[in-house]
């Protein structure tokens, strides 16, 4: 098991290395080069020359790439053009909000999607199955930002059931331990904060969950249908095992393997969705920050974000592979 993890970790190095080269090339290729991207349009040629000098842009490519790599490894992603603060700092202060939102969305998607997909497969051809499949197709085809807007206008602005923006109601006092509203509230016993935070998470969470939910329902359904017909399920039934044992130990355990993989692959979609959802609900996470960055062409923020996403994506998929090998001993043996 340990050897498996170490081997997978070593495999990460070329992928991330290649990605850093890709990003480096991209930064060099920005319209007019970095000295144009990093300075306002009305900067003088002297200022540009000075910036080139200070950025070491006159050095050979290899030297510049190594310097770029060293800065990344030191956690220096440059300075945001819009706020003037280091990109790393901006990300760190906003990360808990996005993390909380993504986890909420993923929990909703898994908690609803897996049972729904399972039931749809077991009752294949019934109205429930039809609605689950139809609903998930509809979910995939609905633009996330449109769904978010509809939820916001109808449930928050017109019916007033939920707050329409931010993470917490303004003026609510809370003890900040880690930046995670719900977790901090639970640890300090401030239950009003927890409740308020959950209300604020509900709508963006549902909007963000729509795509993963749709994918998980269909994956689970297809996968259960395939597993139910396998010989080992028939054998287990023939052995006289209890129905629930067969369902959990044989059907679900095997059916969930592809679902776990798809959850890992959905992380990317989740982050893209966060950019759209957070901007609609003025949720102060990385997503809404990136939305602003695309509006103002804040290149250091955008590159930093891509690097962050790619790293997280790779790490999450590593975790998926590891959990996969825990679920399926056959993977370990390879």
């Amino acid at each position: 098991m340990l050897r498996f993890i170490v081997r997978r970790l070593l495999q990460l190095i070329p992928t991330l290395g290649g990605l850093s080269i890709l990003l480096f090339v991209w930064l060099q290729r920005l319209p007019g080069g970095p000295e144009y991207a990093l300075l306002p349009d009305d900067a003088t040629p002297e200022q540009r020359a000075e910036l080139r000098e200070s950025l070491g842009l006159d050095e050979p490519v290899t030297v510049r790439y190594l310097a770029f790599l060293r800065r990344i490894l030191e956690g220096d992603l440059g300075t945001s053009l819009a706020t003037g603060r280091p990109v790393t700092e901006e990300f760190l202060t906003r990360f808990p909000a996005t993390f909380e939102l993504s986890v909420t969305a993923m929990l909703i998607a898994v908690a609803v999607g897996v049972p729904l997909g399972y039931l749809a497969a077991r009752r294949r051809g019934t109205a429930l199955d039809f609605m689950a499949v139809g609903g998930s197709l509809l979910g995939i085809c609905t633009p996330v930002f449109f769904l978010a807007f509809i939820l916001k206008v109808v449930l928050a602005e017109q019916l007033g059931w939920f707050p329409s923006a931010f993470r917490l109601s303004p003026g609510l006092a809370r003890t900040d331990l880690s930046g995670l509203v719900i977790l901090d509230g639970l640890r300090t016993g401030e239950l009003d904060v927890v409740w308020d935070g959950l209300l604020h998470l509900a709508l963006p969470g549902v909007a963000l969950a729509s795509i993963p939910l749709a994918v998980i329902v269909r994956m689970t359904r297809a996968s259960v249908l395939e597993v139910v017909g396998e010989d080992y399920v028939r054998t287990a039934n023939a052995k006289g095992l209890h129905r629930n044992t067969v369902r959990t130990r044989h059907v679900l355990r095997n059916a969930l393997l592809p679902v776990v993989t798809s959850v890992g692959l959905l992380t990317g979609a989740l982050f893209s969705g966060a950019v759209l959802t957070e901007s609609v609900f003025a949720f102060p996470g990385i997503g809404s920050f990136i939305y602003e960055a695309t509006q103002t062409r804040d290149y250091p923020v955008l590159t930093g974000f891509i690097l962050l996403i790619a790293t997280m994506y790779v790490i999450i998929n590593l975790l998926v592979d590891i959990s996969y090998s825990l679920l399926d001993p056959r993977v370990r043996a390879q």
Partner: protein, 347 residues
């Protein structure tokens, strides 16, 4: 359980001799025999055809003709394509002329709803909404098709090269395959939309940007699919036979393996058209879409409509419904195709 229909079929033949003993049983018996021979021929024919590429497609088409999912999808897609192709003939007015500009006051929330001359009412600048929707269909189709072609073209080239070298290239081929797939995995690590943002930042916001960005984001998916299909075809007997006959490797890859591996890729193209339309809308919302007001496009219309969502929700509802229904059409068609082609899902 699923065994019931076949066991019923099997229980039928034993009954036949009993009825054949009756006076005029001869003709029915003969008829039955003939029917049985016909059935056998049908089965054999089917099996024979199944060996060819066309047979697989024909049986898939037959199966799709009976699937309500496929029919719904095909009808939606057909209507969409007809509207898009003949858009200038269908649209009653110029989609950009602010003909009725004097009747609409967005800052006072005065809008004009559906009426006899403007079927879907006017937009916030006094333009005919119906004409904009119709012309918008054309732009949307263009974005979807070009983006899919970009993804298909580049992805198939990469995946095809990787697959072919893995199957036929020996040890070096495996290395080429490995290297190409590392690049593909790297691309897969970047979420679609962010890849699109990257491209848009390089090229600047335009319709071309949207098409390239959305297309590039689909490249790794197409590449992985084609490679996977080619690898599974590579171990088939017909490839072995071709190699044994001394057919040149390039010819085996292009004439033998490739055509047999295209099934999943074609299905994916249909699904990608839906994704492309939705992604294009998201890019428009991010302000990276088509900035040219002369060509209305559903995504841009939907993004623009957000400002009026509480005062004039119809501005958002028309393009949103159009996007959802069209994407649903392509998805239904693609899913039905996948089900029809997938032997595992056949019942």
């Amino acid at each position: 359980m699923p065994t019931t229909p076949s066991s019923q079929n099997r229980s039928e033949p034993p009954k036949a001799p009993e009825t054949a003993d009756t006076a005029d049983g001869r003709a029915p018996l003969l008829g039955r025999k003939a029917a049985r021979v016909d059935r056998l021929a049908e089965l054999m024919g089917g099996r024979e055809e199944g060996g060819h590429g066309a047979g697989v497609w024909r049986t898939a088409l037959d199966r799709m003709r009976r699937s309500p999912m496929a029919i719904t999808g095909a009808v939606i897609v057909a209507v969409f394509i007809v509207v898009a192709l003949f858009a200038p003939l269908i649209a009653p007015y110029d989609p950009v002329a602010q003909t009725w500009g004097a009747e609409v006051f967005p800052n006072r929330s005065v809008f004009v709803g559906p009426r006899a001359e403007n079927w879907l009412g006017l937009d916030n600048l006094g333009r005919d909404q119906f004409s904009r929707m119709v012309i918008g269909a054309r732009q949307t189709l263009l974005v979807g098709v070009v983006a899919t072609l970009v993804g298909f073209g580049v992805g198939a080239l990469l995946g095809g090269a990787a697959g072919a070298s893995a199957v036929l290239g020996g040890r070096w081929g495996l290395r080429v395959d490995n290297a190409v797939m590392r690049v593909i995995d790297m691309m897969l690590a970047l979420p679609t939309l962010l890849l699109a943002v990257t491209v848009a930042a390089l090229v600047g916001p335009s319709l071309t940007t949207v098409m390239i960005a959305v297309g590039v984001a689909q490249v790794p998916i197409f590449a992985r699919l084609l490679r996977g299909a080619m690898l599974s075809q590579g171990s088939r007997d017909y490839v072995l036979a071709a190699r044994a006959l001394g057919v040149r490797k390039r010819k085996i890859a292009l004439v033998h393996i490739l055509p047999n591996s295209l099934g999943p890729v074609i299905v994916q193209s249909t699904l990608t058209l839906a994704t492309a339309i939705i992604d294009a809308a998201a890019l428009s919302y991010l302000g990276l879409g088509n900035p040219d007001p002369a060509f209305p496009e559903w995504g841009t219309m939907l993004a623009d409509a957000q400002r009026f969502l509480s005062s004039a929700p119809q501005f958002a509802v028309y393009p949103a419904l159009a996007i959802i229904v069209t994407a649903l059409g392509f998805t239904l068609l693609g899913e039905a195709m996948r089900e029809a082609l997938d032997p595992k899902l056949r019942k």
